[in-house]
């Protein structure tokens, strides 16, 4: 089911300045929010901090309280084989179906490697990945 596999990523608008990441991370710490996956995208003097957290609502509240611009973005998380070629298999599944990846980041944990994907058409992507024998992690794994 695609809906179960839609994961709420928290996106924070941040200027590229010393101390910004520390300030965001501190707010999450104080809210008792654990970060499961994380990346920073940087443009011209500003960036977006993206994270998958265990308590998105609390993260949203804490960061907004500090004046941050925060938004939720829906992403999907795909289980990868933690070996050479693991990423290729997923990327090839999507590329073969002409599904574009807007951005991605990944982590490799105890239970295996996970690829976080932002795609144009998540329902198609989920279907294609499952048809290819790979697993989209349900949001309950994180949140």
């Amino acid at each position: 089911m695609p809906a179960e596999c839609m994961i709420r990523q928290i996106s924070v608008f941040s200027e590229n300045k010393p101390g910004k990441l520390a300030s965001i991370a501190k707010a999450l710490q104080e809210g008792g929010v654990n970060i499961l996956a994380f990346s920073i995208a940087e443009a011209d003097g500003f960036g977006v901090v993206r994270a998958i957290v265990n308590k998105p609502e609390i993260a949203y509240r804490e960061l907004t309280r500090l004046g941050y611009n925060v938004a939720f973005t829906e992403v999907i998380a795909v289980g990868m084989e933690d070996r050479p070629g693991g990423l290729y298999e997923i990327a090839d599944l999507l590329g073969g179906a002409s599904l574009n990846i807007e951005y991605a980041y990944a982590y490799s944990g105890k239970e295996g490697a996970v690829l976080i994907l932002r795609v144009d058409n998540p329902a198609d992507a989920i279907a294609r990945i499952q048809a290819g024998g790979r697993r989209c992690l349900p949001s309950s794994v994180f949140q």
Partner: protein, 455 residues
């Protein structure tokens, strides 16, 4: 901005009818002068310019000025000849403190006003009996022009002391037979009570005080239903503030322009079209200049307003630099009156010259106001990089326009750059910053930081 968006006006048949019939039933105080055109106007202005120049010779400042320009008042024959004379600046007036600019004996001066200087001595302005008569007639023209007449109740909520706004409006309003309440400033509760209890139909105050008044009335739960006309001046204000004031106070809001050196309020005023301010062409000769080169600019070109008052007796001035930024509007106003200037958008001393192009912070503000994805606060930094001027504008991302996607932020950034380029004809660097992170100014905003060094 349309009057018809105002819910208060749309339910009042009398007021609804007013702008519609205005063209047929224009009210004038001195119609022949207000509508004078063509050669008749030019002749009158020329005659009065010559008189002004000879009157100015009553002051040591202008005797010296003519002498050093190598001309005599008799050399000024046409309106164009005025460019042979240098400008008069605010600091010249300060230098003449206290009575150096009086062209008549003090015994002929029946009133003195002063304007506060941010530094040093104030500027002293004197009026003969004739000056006061002229000034109050101009106010009478303005009030009549916006539809006020005997039967209206007018509350004048500005300072009645040395500031020209109080007494200036007061005598003009009495002249046309309004019922005048000289409430002056302060005690907002009492101001609201009087508007309500006396059935006040028209108010005059600064736009920021009007907003305070509106909010206070709202908080107190008092409806000011009798109000129909708001006259706001003495500080620049935006079209969006006009809309807010009209909605909150149930008035049609008019912009009033003046400065003490040119009598006070009443120099220029919006008519019921509210598309520019009529500047009284029989009393003020207008030029718009490039504040850097001093060259005259044509209609539609933004620059500094320079005024030669044509009827002032006690204190004649020639080519007085107001420091206010506006432009001439040349169109046939449906009201039938003449020369118009645009609403004041800023001060020429705020002007920046970037790669030879004049930029006013107000232009930047105007662009940003039109882009909902960003806030209205901004900072401008000017640097010189490899001998080239670089302008960087910091603007806050709007709280409601963050999608979470970097690509959308880049799109917003590009949009701001493009709209600034269209308006300023200048490439700028735009930095999106977090909402609430730019400084807020309570008094005079200091939004420009010029870091160029003379290289």
């Amino acid at each position: 901005m349309s009057t018809w968006s105002n819910p208060f006006l749309s339910v009042s048949p009398i007021l609804c009818a007013l702008p519609k019939v205005a063209k047929g039933r224009q009210m004038f105080w001195e119609k022949p002068m207000e509508t004078l055109k063509g050669d008749d106007l030019k002749r009158l202005q020329e005659d009065r310019l010559k008189e002004t120049c000879s009157r100015a010779m009553g002051t040591g400042f202008y005797r010296d000025l003519f002498k050093s320009a190598g001309i005599s008042p008799a050399d000024i024959k046409t309106l164009d000849d005025i460019t042979r004379l240098p400008f008069t600046r605010k600091q010249d007036l300060r230098g003449g403190y206290p009575f150096g600019f009086l062209a008549v004996p003090l015994s002929s001066v029946v009133r003195i006003h002063t304007t506060s200087g941010t530094t040093g001595k104030p500027t002293v302005v004197g009026y003969t009996r004739g000056d006061l008569e002229k000034w109050s007639s101009l106010i009478a023209r303005n009030l009549t022009m916006v539809g006020l007449r005997q039967g209206d109740v007018f509350q004048n909520m500005v300072n009645y002391g040395m500031f020209t706004g109080g007494l200036g409006f007061h005598y003009g309003a009495e002249k046309i037979g309004l019922t005048v309440i000289p409430s002056a400033t302060g005690n907002t509760k009492r101001q609201i009570e009087m508007i309500h209890d006396f059935g006040v139909t028209a108010i005059h105050c600064t736009p920021s005080y009007a907003m305070h008044l509106a909010e206070s009335a709202e908080e107190a739960g008092i409806k000011l239903d009798s109000l129909k006309t708001g006259i706001f001046g003495a500080e620049p204000w935006s079209e969006s503030l006009r809309g807010e004031l009209e909605e909150k106070l149930g008035v049609t809001a008019y912009d009033s322009y003046g400065l003490s050196e040119l009598y006070g309020p009443g120099v220029a005023f919006e008519c019921q079209e509210r598309d520019g301010l009529h500047i009284w062409h029989d009393c003020y000769l207008v030029e718009i200049i490039d504040p850097v080169t001093g060259e005259q600019l044509g209609p539609g070109e933004q620059g500094e307003l320079v005024v030669t008052p044509l009827v002032k007796e006690a204190m004649p001035l020639i080519r007085y630099r107001t420091g206010d930024v506006t432009m001439l509007i040349e169109d046939d106003c449906p009201c039938g009156r003449g020369m118009k200037i645009a609403r004041i958008t800023g001060r020429s001393d705020d002007m920046l010259v970037i790669r030879g192009i004049n930029v006013f912070p107000s232009q930047i503000e105007h662009v940003l106001l039109g882009i909902p994805e960003v806030g209205n606060q901004f900072m401008v930094y000017v640097d010189r990089v490899n001998h080239l001027d670089e302008m960087t504008i910091e603007v806050e991302l709007s709280r409601t326009h963050f999608s979470g996607e970097l690509a959308d932020l880049a799109r917003i950034q590009k949009k701001v750059i493009k709209e600034l380029r269209d308006a300023l004809e200048l490439r700028t660097t735009v930095r999106l910053v977090e909402p609430g992170s730019l400084p807020r100014f309570e008094g005079k905003a200091k939004r420009v930081i010029d870091r160029r060094t003379g290289d």
